[in-house]
Symmetry: C2
Subunit: 433 residues, 2 copies
């Protein structure tokens, strides 16, 4: 349909939801983005732009539009979405755009821009529905309907004092059911869950998930209601955090864009690889130290690679379970202790089983019972170290306030590589030389 | 407070939200769970049980309660939560419990039990608010208020035909604002996003996230409205799926419980380690093949461990980015092609940089320029293979319909281990012997 004229294209597009058009954009060149945005009705166009993946750079599309169309689209956007887009622009582009907007919108967006991108303030939307605690049923309903004109959907109605401090929430159901002369003060549910504007978005996600909320109010230090965060924005945060977790865990900088350029990928991964190279020299030093053993018993080298490789994998297993467990909930001292004890046992048993296999193989294939014993001891020892470090290191990092996910495989496998080389070579030097 | 009497404990507990008590449970022995549940008012007790972590086994707590208390709690539970709990029980316990309940509740739960645990049917709640498409404003409002009596919160009002087929949704705002004689048919929004009951929960999460929904209706093959899934259940699904992804990626069975016993952990991880042992023998075979090289040039062994270790880490990086990208959206052929091309370039460049470092080290430390060349070539080659396999293998698995996450580090590092041993040894045999 992209080959046809604009009218034909417009007709095809109207069957699609804005989020579907945004997904379609990922597969189209950027010239097509601009053309489609210009064809779409402003309301849909602004929704498409707010739904576009960050990695498709909606802010560049926006800045390239005709200024009038751009203003129309920005004023249709929710404040939180507009703020996210504008925050991606260069300083002078931000000023130009804000000056072209109407004063009220611009000042709301300026206020939102002042919060950190990953805080509750950076996530919140300042448009919401609130009623004064002294309102009666009729006045409250009128207020709610008036305020809801500009909103797609409302989930929660906030109750405030004259100075806008948050008092509670009230459900539309209870207002409708109430007697005609009921006061909001008698209908409200006090003590709502709320967050301060400077709270980290991960904590916001945790609260929303724990209390099964659809929205959470955001307040300043004096409990003044600033905005609200809706669960759909939190779902995006959760996806982002999961991506960051899996990347950090694998030794990739958390801010690498999944569909970024090769230059970005090199920039994000090379430092970790160079760090790994440094730890690699350390482990290689262990091997060099036993050069006489490897010349005297050449087969030990092949087995040594098996022992160290198995240690790396067992450590990654223990690490994944422990890191994920920590990220879902804080562990008490006794839970932490039991976790270490468990990984200790798992490492010993898995080590002994695999040690028996590789030991038996050496006995049969190389005809050396003593080599079998050496490998059994080395494998058991290394998988024991794997379990211990895989569980202990993230727990210790968490206690001292460092993100446990930096204990990526790269760090942990340093231990299992060093031990994986040392143990077979050292046992061999004792028992086989 | 656990030491005090029941009255004192009850007083302390009433300051806590049910989800907070559920979290507290993780730190208490199971005798304390039973005591607290018996003290709490039934409404709170049932909320606590529905909020308890799966791994704390709320179903065991439930089955151990006094039968009368148990019936009260189960009838307070939402149908979807009750079904999840009952599904965890033994067949005969399920029957006993269902027979002790009132007939309507039991038959609703029996219907829900028939859906797969990880499908839309297994997630949905059958209690929802619906109005007939031929209702007028007054009748609809009465219906809504009547139906909402039993519900904590309602998000969306569904519009159905006489035979319960889904026609659309209507917002409470539009009903309130409408003229007194308005018909629902003129207020409804047709073509809502919906899911069929047998759709996988991951797909449900994707739809809710894509369309920013707070609830999604679930229908049967004839569009009959069966229930709805709320976004708070989807948040739990997303956490579960993230856990599974990170576990599979690290060579742990996806169903290992994070806080499970050491026996379960051994059962879940040992098969992967034995698989890794088998691939380890393969790589060790490569080393054995070049035994003469390692005896002639002992230092090559230490360097070989560096080359293979770096390959493993680079492959894990490429794999993490690719697997996560696939799990967030389907890639077109051209996107897949560009991904492989990108990892190909990243591998070459990171390989060359690290190859230069290790080559220069060998030149300076071992005084052998030719060893430097061998290591530069081997490192570049292995990181190139790492990028290529890390990107290609998950993409190919996805195309042939296999979960790309089974391309865990264990599988991919087989390639980088074999190549990481072969390349330095083979180049050394050509240039240094």
């Amino acid at each position: 349909a992209l080959e046809g004229d604009d009218a034909g294209l417009a007709e095809v597009l109207q069957d699609y939801h804005a989020s579907e058009i945004a997904i379609l954009f990922e597969r189209l060149p950027s010239e097509a983005h601009e053309r489609i945005i210009n064809i779409l009705p402003t309301e849909i166009a602004s929704e498409v732009i707010s739904e576009m993946d960050e990695e498709s750079h909606p802010e560049e599309l926006l800045i390239n539009l005709d200024p009038e169309k751009r203003s129309e689209i920005v004023s249709e956007l929710d404040y939180d979405d507009a703020t996210d887009l504008i925050a991606q622009l260069e300083e002078h582009e931000q000023q130009d755009l804000l000056e072209s907007m109407d004063e009220e919108d611009a000042s709301s967006i300026r206020a939102l821009l002042s919060y950190g991108e990953n805080t509750a303030g950076g996530l919140m939307n300042s448009s919401l529905i609130k009623v004064n605690i002294r309102q009666d049923k009729k006045g409250a309903l009128d207020d709610i309907i008036r305020q809801s004109e500009e909103m797609e959907e409302f989930y929660t109605i906030y109750v405030v004092e004259d100075d806008d401090t948050l008092q509670g929430v009230v459900s539309i159901k209870n207002i409708i059911k109430a007697h005609a002369d009921a006061k909001i003060s008698s209908l409200l549910k006090a003590d709502p869950v709320y967050v301060n504007a400077d709270v980290d978005q991960e904590e916001v996600a945790r609260l929303i998930s724990q209390y099964n909320l659809t929205t959470i109010p955001v307040v300043d230090d004096h409990m003044k209601l600033l905005g609200r965060i809706t669960v759909d924005d939190i779902i995006d945060v959760m996806e982002e955090e999961s991506t960051e977790d899996i990347l950090k865990f694998s030794g990739v900088s958390e801010d690498e864009e999944l569909s970024g350029s090769w230059q970005d990928a090199v920039k994000s991964r090379l430092p970790w690889l160079v760090l790994n190279l440094a730890t690699g020299f350390l482990a290689a030093g262990v091997v060099r130290h036993f050069a006489s053993v490897q010349v005297a018993i050449p087969t030990i080298v092949a087995y040594m690679t098996i022992v160290s490789g198995m240690g790396g994998n067992a450590a990654t297993q223990a690490l994944a379970v422990t890191v994920r467990r920590i990220s879902l909930s804080d562990l008490t001292d006794s839970q932490a202790y039991r976790t270490v004890l468990k990984e200790f046992s798992v490492g010993l048993i898995n080590g002994a089983v695999n040690g028996l296999i590789v030991g038996a193989f050496a006995f049969v294939y190389d005809g050396s019972p003593m080599m079998g014993v050496v490998l059994f001891l080395a494998m058991t020892g290394n998988l024991f170290i794997a379990g211990l470090t895989g569980a202990t290191i993230p727990l210790v990092l968490k206690r001292v306030g460092i993100d446990p996910a930096v204990a990526s495989s790269i760090i942990i496998t340093t231990f299992t590589d060093c031990a994986g080389f040392f143990l077979p070579l050292w046992f061999a030097s004792k028992f086989l030389l």
